[in-house]
Amino acid sequence: MPVSSETTFPKHASSDEEDKMWELRLYVAGQTPNSLTAFGNLKKICEEHLAGKYRIEVIDLLENPTLARGDQILAVPTLVRKLPEPVKKIIGDLSNTERVLVGLDLRPIGERKVRRANKPESDAL
């Protein structure tokens, strides 16, 4: 079921946040099957959920090994959500779409509503 990018945002989120770009970094180590799969999966998820609002930076650690320290990368591939904050880390080839969405805080709307009903700030709204 296709979900538009607007509906993926929590209703209480400000419009500023909605307009912000998603900055995603995908750390890979060479053109391994895992990295290729991960990049393909990421591209698909972003197109579906964040069309026009995302930027993917692919960092090949074989070329820039020292960058692994900055984001504390151990496993590859690792996807890091730099923005919006907080920073999130997702490892693996991103083949489990459900878990990627949870990791990126891009949960389907139905789930979100259930979650929000329990939150005190949603009552205030």
């Binding site: 151990l74 991103l94 990627v100």
Partner: protein
């Protein structure tokens, strides 16, 4: 092929004592597992391995820290006298802090730990590292969920490090039934070292044991170790033995009479001396006398006091006229006053050895030895002492141990069973008689020298120790006031004998004179007799002469008458 060439090569750790236990160092180009419970010193051992490698063996090292940041690590090892930040600046050590937080990571499929490899490679290449530490690699088990990926990646990591010829230490928390909680020992087959922080009778001791070392012999025992301000200090028991040089040089006991009792020279240098006795018999005074004498020769002395504070010993010794303060100021004496219960027995031994190594004394005093028994069994104390005495002898250090014997018990059996380890054994004993207590000193043994077997009275005066020549009365050795009384009685008797003799001499003089005069009389008598006899003889001669003259006259007269008659006829 030379066996030395095919046998494994070793990378020295540079940790005091450890290289002796593992006979040269860790297996070069291989991975060693260091495991143990929390706080047992794994990280410090690993860090020192890197630091010594960088400083002493020209092998830079990479520290992959899974638990501490570089700053925390630097602070922690600063207490070991290691300046990690300087080494980092000089590109001799590279610290990479690896942070894993499970809750921040979502796993979404296949992955590997190539990131870790890449970080390791870039760190190694940055400084040309030969040594690697992974502390604590097991943290990644808590950070990632996929156990099978982790295990195959760890296996790959170890193979990779071996292939690159890196000498590595991997640390691991001890598990309940296995050496490590996640079974790391499964992947490390070359060398495993187990550390333990053991608490017995509320006293903690650190223990190191080499569980396995493939392709090399190694010490099998448990080796106590210290974490000191100069790094780890492992005590290799096997490095001690009975193959030390012995000295025939003598050193003074500080008491000239005692020197005389010990073949006139004092103790042998490098020998071990036991001074035992009940409370208040002057054991410490004897020890301090020796120390004082050593300082006069300009030798350094180390005094381990387990009962009194240094200040108290100094004060008390001033009362017998020995002032150690100037020696302390000249740096010739160092006091180490600790309560025995402060450490475990093995830690005590290590501390003592470490202090000796730092101070390089010629004379060492342990006062009193017996207090150590309060924290360990006799066997443990004896085993510790064997090693301590061996160590002291190897370094040609003269050691004096005092031992407190319990009053009433037989002094000869209550000696911690250590008397056989001692070369010289002096017993100071209370001699009770005539309602007073005096000290008597015996030399029970003195290996390799003729020594006095007499009991001496031992007196503490305000100018040091005096041993009074023994006074033997009709009822044995006399001490104290009994000796003084006996001596004055003896003096009176002597005086009396002397005047008697003088009187006798006078009498004999008289006699001589009387006899002399008698001789004079007799001689006069003889002379008178002689005179008389001479006169008689003279008279007799005259008579003979007269007779002869008469005869002649008669003969002449007869001849004249005959001729006249013939003519007439």
């Amino acid at each position: 092929m030379d066996l030395n060439q095919i046998s494994i090569r070793k990378s020295p750790t540079g940790i005091k004592g450890l290289d002796e236990v593992i006979e040269g160092g860790l297996p070069q180009g291989r991975t060693t597992l260091v495991c143990g419970g929390p706080g047992c010193g794994k990280t410090l051992l690993a860090t020192e391995f890197l630091v010594r490698g960088a400083q002493e063996y020209g092998e830079p090292g990479v520290f992959m820290a899974f638990e501490e940041t570089a700053e925390e690590l630097t602070k922690n090892v600063a207490s070991l006298g290691i300046d990690l930040s300087a080494l980092i600046e000089q590109n001799k050590i590279f610290v990479d802090y690896i942070y894993i937080e499970r809750s921040e990571i979502e796993e979404t499929g296949e992955y590997d730990l190539e990131g870790l490899f890449i970080r390791l490679v870039s760190a190694i290449e940055a400084i040309g590292a030969k040594r690697v530490v992974l502390d604590t690699l097991e943290t990644i088990f808590a950070g990632f969920a996929n156990d099978s990926i982790l295990r195959s990646e760890i296996r790959r990591l170890f193979r990779w490090m071996k292939a690159r010829g890196l000498t590595a230490i991997v640390t691991g928390e001890q598990g309940e039934k296995s050496l490590t909680r996640y079974g790391l020992e499964e992947y490390v087959s070359d060398c495993v070292i187990l550390l333990d922080n053991r608490v017995e009778n509320k006293i903690a001791s650190r223990i190191l044991r080499v569980v396995k070392y493939r392709g090399s012999s190694h010490g099998m025992d448990e080796y106590p170790f210290l974490i000191s301000d100069q790094g780890l200090w492992v005590q290799p028991i096997t490095s001690l033995g009975l193959n030390y040089q012995v000295s025939s040089e003598n050193i003074s006991t500080g008491v000239s009479e005692l020197d005389r009792m010990l073949s006139g020279q004092g103790y042998f240098r490098g020998s071990s001396i036991l001074v035992s006795g009940s409370a208040g018999t002057g054991k410490t005074s004897l020890a301090v006398s020796m120390v004082d004498a050593a300082c006069r020769r300009g030798e350094r002395c180390l005094y381990f006091a387990f009962e009194e504070a240094a200040g108290q010993i100094l004060r008390n010794m001033r009362s017998i006229g020995i002032d150690l303060q100037p020696w302390i100021e000249q740096g010739l004496i160092k006091f180490y006053a600790t309560r025995p219960s402060y450490y475990g027995i093995e830690t005590h031994l290590l501390t003592i050895q470490k202090d000796i190594e730092e101070f390089q004394p010629r004379v060492v005093v342990l006062d009193p030895l017996t207090n150590l028994i309060s924290i360990a069994t006799e066997t443990e104390v004896k085993s510790m002492l064997v090693r301590l005495i061996d160590y002291l002898k190897m370094n040609d250090i003269t050691a004096l141990f005092t031992s407190l014997t319990t009053g009433g018990r037989d002094e000869l059996t209550s000696e911690v069973g250590v008397s056989s380890l001692m070369d010289t054994w002096i017993l100071v004993r209370n001699l009770e008689s005539n309602g007073e207590r005096n000290r008597g000193l015996y030399i029970l043994k003195a290996r390799g020298m003729a020594h006095s077997t007499q009991v001496r009275e031992f007196i503490l005066t305000n100018h040091g120790i005096e041993l009074v020549d023994v006074t033997v009365g009709p009822k044995g050795v006399l001490v104290g006031s009994a000796r003084i009384a006996y001596e004055s009685r003896e003096r009176a008797a002597l005086l009396q004998r002397q005047s008697e003799t003088e009187r006798k001499m006078r009498v004999s003089e008289h006699k001589r004179k009387a006899i002399k005069s008698q001789i004079g009389v007799l001689q006069a008598e003889i002379e008178a007799e002689d005179e008389r006899l001479r006169q008689e003889l003279a008279q007799l001669e005259n008579y003979h002469k007269m007779q002869a003259d008469e005869l002649k006259t008669i003969i002449q007269a007869r001849q004249r008458n005959g001729s006249s008659q013939g003519e007439e006829e």
